[in-house]
């Protein structure tokens, strides 16, 4: 999925806010897609999906056609999303058991999933389930199934960890979630296409490609400016 079109550099603006990032991801999801939004930041994407765009949301606990969060009288103990938050159902919704829910994912029927990440490698490896810290309680949920099963895996993350290290890396050092599965990475500074070969920058926000090249420990496929 490498882009050959020229990179759009938007150096004269601020990096994307979380809402702007979610809106950007939402705008890239084609009409009619079946989509799973991971817990956390990716959930925000649903706020920016046009209700008329015909995008159907999948939740891995067994539903297609998930609607917005429930409030007040809409709250139903039996209707929750993968984060166990009460949600609503849209016309055309359907329910199914857990094995069917993951079979439709693993079977390649889901067009997109949007996940958070600790690290993504230049080869599209994803690490998002375990920091590897010895005292951490390991918990994977559906992350590996989504990473392996969805036809396109989109990652939304900050470009840098809290300690300032880049999260787009030559090789993941955190335990892996999936191999070669990520196709695009959305960060506050840039959108990266993970392709063969290498990582291309689709657009930047508040920096230039050369800034990214200085900041990141990876090769970018764009030629350096003369």
């Amino acid at each position: 999925m490498n882009v050959r079109t020229p990179t759009i550099e938007r150096a004269d603006r601020a990096p994307l806010s979380r809402d702007e990032l979610a809106a950007l991801v939402a705008g890239d999801i084609p009409r009619g897609s079946y989509v799973n939004l991971g817990i956390g930041q990716p959930t925000k994407v649903s706020d920016h999906l046009d209700p008329d765009a015909g995008v159907t949301l999948h939740t891995e606990n067994g539903m297609l056609g998930m609607g917005p969060y429930a409030s007040g009288d809409e709250i139903d103990r039996d209707l929750v999303n993968a984060g166990k938050i009460p949600v609503t159902e849209l016309p055309g919704a359907s329910y199914f058991h857990h094995a069917d829910s993951f079979a439709m994912m693993r079977g390649g029927h889901l067009d997109f999933c949007v996940l958070g990440a600790y690290q993504v490698s230049v080869g599209g490896d994803l690490a998002n389930w375990h920091t590897g810290a010895p005292d951490a309680v390991p918990a994977v949920g559906g992350a590996m199934d989504l990473a392996t099963g969805a036809r396109s895996v989109l990652v939304m993350m900050s470009l840098f960890a809290k300690d300032g290290t880049a999260k787009l890396v030559p090789e993941c050092t955190y335990p892996l979630t999936g191999l070669g599965c990520v196709s695009r990475v959305y960060t506050e500074y840039a959108v990266f296409e993970i392709g063969q070969p290498g990582v291309a920058v689709r657009e930047t926000y508040g920096c230039t490609v050369d800034d990214l090249r200085d900041w990141l420990p990876i090769e970018l496929t764009h030629p350096r400016r003369p």
């Binding site: 857990h98 693993r106 099963g149």
Partner: protein
């Protein structure tokens, strides 16, 4: 034929120490709280509990954990904002944990009910959760061999049963119910109401009664549910 029993205590009678117990539910949706409360009173220990999570708050699975009845938890996501009972036991080395990717967990339960001896799944290949497991390349893709989760008992909450044991569920409370009901030697179901045989639309039955052994009417006590 099913046993329509009078109370949850009868429903869980005979569950042995050391049993592997599949527990339906995803959060509060479909969680068989009345059966779990009864299992706590019944006293079986050294249990292996299979659920998506490892208990919330102090009720249900967390109560069994707190009482020292659980030797091992098989789940996909133990870490919750209110999984403090499990977290403490795990960090103290007092409970075993097998973390399984959620879809592999579901498929391993499904396989047990479907008589499948094992299956190759792409999920987890190349990750720490596939370490030590047989893998195979099939048609250019890598797969990991996973085995069914054999179990003694399934505790499931459904919406309605008829007197033949046919079950329907409500919304996302269905989650693990149908595959767990099929997978265990003894399937115990709590429902909000039992209707006469013939009163459920056969086209709408999700779990056929062949998978169900005991049914008890137990409306979940909403005030006891975690927020």
């Amino acid at each position: 034929m099913i046993d329509l029993v009078d109370d949850p205590d009868q429903a869980v009678s005979g569950i042995a120490d050391g049993a592997t117990v599949l527990v339906g539910g995803f959060g509060a949706a479909g969680m068989p709280y009345a059966l779990l409360d009864a299992l706590l009173r019944q006293g079986a220990s050294d249990l292996t509990v299979v659920n998506n999570n490892a208990g919330n708050g102090t009720t249900g699975i967390a109560a069994l954990l707190a009482a020292g009845r659980v030797r091992k938890v098989i789940c996909s996501f133990p870490r919750q904002h209110d999984s403090y009972v499990f977290d403490e036991l795990y960090r103290a080395g007092k409970v075993e944990l097998e973390v399984v990717p959620q879809g592999n967990l579901a498929e391993r339960i499904r396989a047990a009910g479907a008589g499948i001896g094992g299956f190759f799944t792409p999920t987890g290949y190349g990750t720490p959760l596939a370490e030590g497991k047989e893998s195979r390349e099939i048609d250019g893709r890598h797969y990991v061999l996973e085995y069914p989760i054999k179990s003694d008992v399934a505790l499931v909450a459904a919406h309605r049963a008829d007197r033949s044991g046919n079950l329907v569920y409500r919304k996302t409370a269905r989650n693990f119910g149908p595959i767990m009901a099929a997978a265990a030697d003894l399937t115990v179901v709590q429902v909000a109401r039992v209707v006469d045989t013939g009163d459920l639309d056969p086209e709408a039955v999700v779990t056929p009664g062949i998978y169900v052994d005991r049914v008890v009417v137990a409306e979940p006590a909403l005030e006891e549910l975690p927020a």
